[in-house]
């Protein structure tokens, strides 16, 4: 095995397009993705620089053999999965038109994937926020709680608000573009 590197990158569930672009750039610089370790670790291996399209496909671990076979029939190389996402890549040299470089060729199926993310990822996030983060954050005003508790739940509160606002606005905008 050649030279390898490990990178840490924070992408939320709404940033898959940016993630695809970043992985493509890395490959152009001669680093191909070999493995994903949840949640944010990317393993790369040195390779000849090449223009390779990366695509993330959200299946929420529901992919079956039929699906994997079909995607690979289309010339996509399967790299692995990470928290519900499947990672695929394909060299641009084998692409003759725009849709050859896509997992989805119409807006309905693209919008379906975004709705799937909203339902299976955003909804649980919102439930945890309302049922756990908010009640604990409110306890901070209770004088009996420790400083550690206050700091921890303040951070959680900020993190959750950021994630909820960022992801819901972005996913909604992505979906709107498709309508």
């Amino acid at each position: 095995m050649g030279e390898t590197k490990l990178k840490i990158r924070f992408y939320t569930i709404a940033d898959f397009k940016e993630e695809e672009i970043w992985l493509r750039e890395e490959h152009k610089k001669g680093w191909k993705l070999t493995k994903m370790v949840p949640p944010y670790f990317y393993h790369f291996e040195k390779c000849p620089p090449e223009d390779v399209i990366y695509r993330l496909d959200f299946r929420n671990n529901k992919e079956n053999e039929d699906y994997m076979q079909m995607v690979q029939d289309y010339g996509w190389e399967y790299l692995g999965h990470c928290v519900g996402w499947l990672y695929f890549r394909k060299s641009t040299s084998s692409i003759t038109n725009e849709n050859d470089g896509e997992i989805f060729s119409d807006n309905t199926s693209r919008a379906n994937m975004i709705s799937h993310i909203m339902k299976t990822r955003m909804l649980p996030l919102l439930i945890i926020f309302l049922s756990c983060v908010i009640p604990n954050a409110l306890k901070m005003f209770d004088s009996a709680v420790s400083a550690v508790f206050t700091v921890f739940w303040s951070l959680m509160l900020v993190l959750y608000i950021y994630l909820l606002v960022h992801c819901s606005l972005k996913l909604r905008a992505l979906k709107k573009d498709l309508e």
Binding site: D57, E65, D66, Y67, Q69, M70, V71, D73, Y74, W76, T96, N97, E98, N99, D100, E102, I103, F104, S105, D106, T108, S109, N112, M113
Partner: protein, 104 residues
């Protein structure tokens, strides 16, 4: 045929039409996409995620059915309901074509 199926599938998307049209003969997803590419001089490409989603939905709605498995690939073919939908769609397109020619 119930109204719901009719409402969903007529008029049909280009993707849906070609898939159903190709399945008059048993075929698997990638095979369909190759056939469609050929028929349209490469202008219509159906990507795998869209192909899989459409096949699953059509199978669920009874327009197509599982035919057999070949080299780990599922082959589907059209059902009588699917053929009925396809016929309605073809006459709709014929009318559309005819009317558009008359205009010119």
């Amino acid at each position: 045929m119930n109204d719901k199926i009719r409402r969903i599938y007529i008029p049909m998307t280009e993707t849906g039409f070609y898939i159903l049209f190709c399945l008059r003969k048993p075929q698997h997803g990638y095979g369909i996409s190759q056939q469609v590419k050929q028929m349209t001089n490469g202008e219509v490409t159906i990507s795998p995620g869209t192909m899989y989603g459409t096949l699953s939905k059509m199978e669920k709605d009874g327009l197509i059915e599982f035919f057999c498995e070949e080299n780990k690939r599922k082959l589907y073919k059209i059902t009588s309901l699917g053929q009925e939908i396809l016929n309605i769609e073809i006459s709709r397109i014929e009318r559309l074509y005819k009317n558009s020619r008359e205009e010119i």
